[in-house]
Amino acid sequence: MKSFPCILILSALGIFSGVQSVNADPVSLEDRVKALEEKLEKNPRDFRVYWKNGLNLDSRDKQFKYRIGGRMQYDWAFLSADSRLESLFGPQNNGAEARRARLFISGLLYNRVMFKAQYDFASGSPAFKDVFLGVLRVPVLGNLLIGHFQEPFSLEELTSNKYITFMERSLLFETFNPDRNLGIAFYDRELNDRLFWAVGVFRDTRETPPVTQGGDYALTGRVAGLLWVAEKGRKLLHLGLSYSHRKPRNDSIQFRTRPEVHLTDSRFVDTGVLFSGDVDQVNGEAAVVYGPLSLQGEYSRAFVTVPAAPDADLDGFYAQVSWFLTGEHRPYKGGSFARVLPKKNFLEGNGVGAWQIAVRYSQVDLNDSAAGVRGGFQEDVTFGLNWYLNPHVRAMFNYVNADPQAAGELNAFQFRFQVDF
């Protein structure tokens, strides 16, 4: 039995030398793991490149982010007008166009400054869209934006045209909404993302590229919020109010709009150029989401100081109802509506994408006889059918009946094919 420890020692010696002989390879396992660790160790300024609603680049330390993307919208329209309308506004022909063709690069620097440079090539020369820089989380003031962006006014203006329910926004939009201008704004969200506010000073800059000279200023603000939200936004009630005080450039302002059809250059309602002093505009908004059902409406009013006459008082409103046949709901984010996500993408298994039907009534009244303004009165009824193949692609069909008072009638059948990337 004395030999037993000897056997143990001998076998241990054997095992040890066996293991050693394997590990005595030119590169030991330890070294190879170390090499792997070194290779996988990321520089904090290295970007992770990934897909999330587009092409994203985020540095490992999250201090720097870039996004590169764009959108395409191709429209076809078939117009049929009665003889009275064509005699007043000229022939209304069928058409096709690139409604929008945009590219952008945006990002975040030092987790503090954000930027976006977005241009639309649909009109030939590059038109400035969102071109701004922003400083985030400034003490007391919230977030700061400087550059060319949408004035905070109205729900349908602030809802991206990628996400609006109809091909064109209502008659109110072109008539009353200031849209994008050069300016400086502060904005923030409060109460756990339930309340959104924004206020800014802007200068009317409709030119390409945006530039202005002259004493024209606008002060615009909006406050909006969710009075009720349930089931993670599948049910909600949104209310909002916007106000804008404007000094028009050269003391002249014009209210007019296309008939919710972009492939015509005719404006059936048009005040012409009004010589005015200050203009005050208010806009009230309300929207409900209740599962697949959604209601939305806005009322807009402009008080225009006209020399040697009572102030002109112009207004309009729209109301729309939409329903997802496939059960989705309209997502809401940051005070406006956002990207629709089909429950199942088209041709993924037996997926059909998301299907949505909608109807809208809108009207604008640009007459104020006491003030001597005769811009006209128009009612539009629009039916929409939207097919979201997946979150980034949709086909849209709209039927629009445009009825300018005492000026005939236009029927438009229009299609859009849209991708954003």
Binding site: F16, Y110, A117, V131
Partner: protein, 424 residues
């Protein structure tokens, strides 16, 4: 007996040895490491994507590089003129604009060819740096062909991202700027000396084009940093530029804005005048002493006119001083100034960013003999706030004192202007 014991000992040793080998190999550790090694294997032409003063892509072997980026400068300007000025010109309206809205892609191919394609949408899609180049050539150094800045004047060659004032001085009217051409250039003696020489045609930028038998510029510049310490925290820069040019057509024209772009009017302007050739001379000096910097240039232009007309001389220059209240210094690289990096970014801890104050006097005289383009003397004051290395807010006050022909006062224009700038 001993023999048997020996056999047993050897057998036990052998069995143990084999168990040891099996234990080492059987462990799936080896297998897992090998799988990982295959997964993280990178090829030479795989890009590393990272942030360094912008979004960069470098292949692992560094032979190919791309950079994508741009800049946005949003300006707001307010004007106030005296009565003499108003009697001679329309007072400019207060304005707002995108001074620059640029986008570029640049890169390196085969570690030999550089390229850049940069366009500005703030000016109806004009060409900026759009060129290709060869680097590390024997003897000549580097070679560029395309649309880029002629090598003349320190403030012209310093990027608009890094200028101390919102606009270059009135004397910048004499710098040829960007044109289509070819140039060779290099930096030697540890980048302390730079030289560049090129041949250009005066094409302009939107888009660059010339169709004329006339119109050539030969331009040359040499600079040096005779004194350079503490990695550039203290330095002296001297430079000399020369350009010989013949006009595109029978005339030259020199004019300038009053150090404010939104006026859209040039208050000193020779108008087109008949000329045959011009010689431009530029003298540069700059010093950095930590937070303090001084910089100045003087330009002299002599224009030969057709026979029977006396040649004319124009001149101008500027002198500026600047000081970082927060202790940074101006960055100098290869004969021009570069990106300011704050010691501490705004809102990073107790960071304030970098704050800089500056003053400049500048002058241009476009009167000589029969040419009465006017004379302008400007005083500009600046306050710059660098939130971080890529974002700044600028405020400038400019007092432009404008004269017409010698002794004719055209009055003063006061400009208060702001810029918000990001480059990415």
């Amino acid at each position: 007996m001993k023999f048997v014991v020996g056999i047993i000992v050897i057998s036990i040793l052998l069995i143990g040895f084999w168990i040891g080998i099996a234990a080492a190999n059987d462990s799936d550790l080896e297998h897992r490491v090998r799988t990982l090694e295959q997964q993280v294997k990178t090829k030479d032409n795989d890009f590393r994507v990272y942030f360094k003063n912008g979004l960069r892509f470098d292949t692992r072997d560094k032979k190919f590089k791309y950079q994508i980026g741009g800049r946005i400068q949003t300006d707001f300007a307010f004007y106030n003129a005296d009565s003499t000025f108003k009697a001679n010109f329309n007072e400019p309206g207060n304005g707002a604009e995108f001074r620059r809205a640029r986008f570029f892609i640049s890169g390196l191919l085969y570690n030999r060819i550089v390229f850049k394609a940069e366009y500005d949408f703030a000016d109806q899609t004009s060409f900026k740096n759009v060129y290709l180049g060869f680097i590390q050539l024997p003897v000549v150094g580097n070679f560029n062909v395309g649309h880029f800045k002629e090598p003349f004047s320190l403030e012209e060659l310093t990027s608009s991202k890094y200028l101390t004032f919102m606009e270059r001085s009135v004397a910048n009217a004499f710098a040829p700027g960007r044109n289509v051409g070819v140039a060779i250039f290099d930096a030697v003696t540890q980048d302390r000396i730079t030289w560049a020489v090129g041949v250009f045609r005066p094409t302009g930028s939107a888009p660059p084009r010339i169709q004329s038998d006339d119109g050539y510029n030969v331009t040359f510049r040499v600079t040096g940093a005779p004194w350079y310490r503490e990695k550039g925290a203290q330095l002296l820069h001297l430079g000399f530029g020369y350009s010989f040019s013949t006009p595109d057509g029978p005339t030259f024209d020199f004019d300038t804005e009053p150090e404010s772009n939104l006026t859209a009017t040039k208050f000193v302007d020779t108008g087109a005048f008949s000329a045959e050739k011009a010689n431009r001379f530029g003298f540069e000096a700059a010093a950095v002493l930590h937070a303090f910097s001084v910089q100045g240039e003087y330009f002299l232009v002599t224009v030969d006119r057709p026979s029977g007309l006396a040649s004319v001389d124009f001149n101008g220059g500027y002198m500026e001083v600047s000081y970082f209240l927060t202790g940074e210094h101006r960055k100098y690289k290869k004969g021009k100034f570069g990106r300011v990096t704050p010691r501490k970014n705004f809102l990073e801890g107790s960071g304030l960013g970098a704050w800089q104050v500056a003053a400049r006097f500048s002058s241009i005289d476009l009167n000589d003999g029969a040419i009465t383009g006017g004379e302008e003397n400007n005083i500009a004051l600046a306050l710059n706030w660098y939130l971080n290395a890529h974002t700044r807010l600028m405020f400038n006050y400019v007092r432009a004192d404008i004269d017409g022909a010698p002794g004719v006062d055209f009055g003063n224009l006061n400009t208060y202007q702001f810029r918000f700038q990001v480059d990415f």
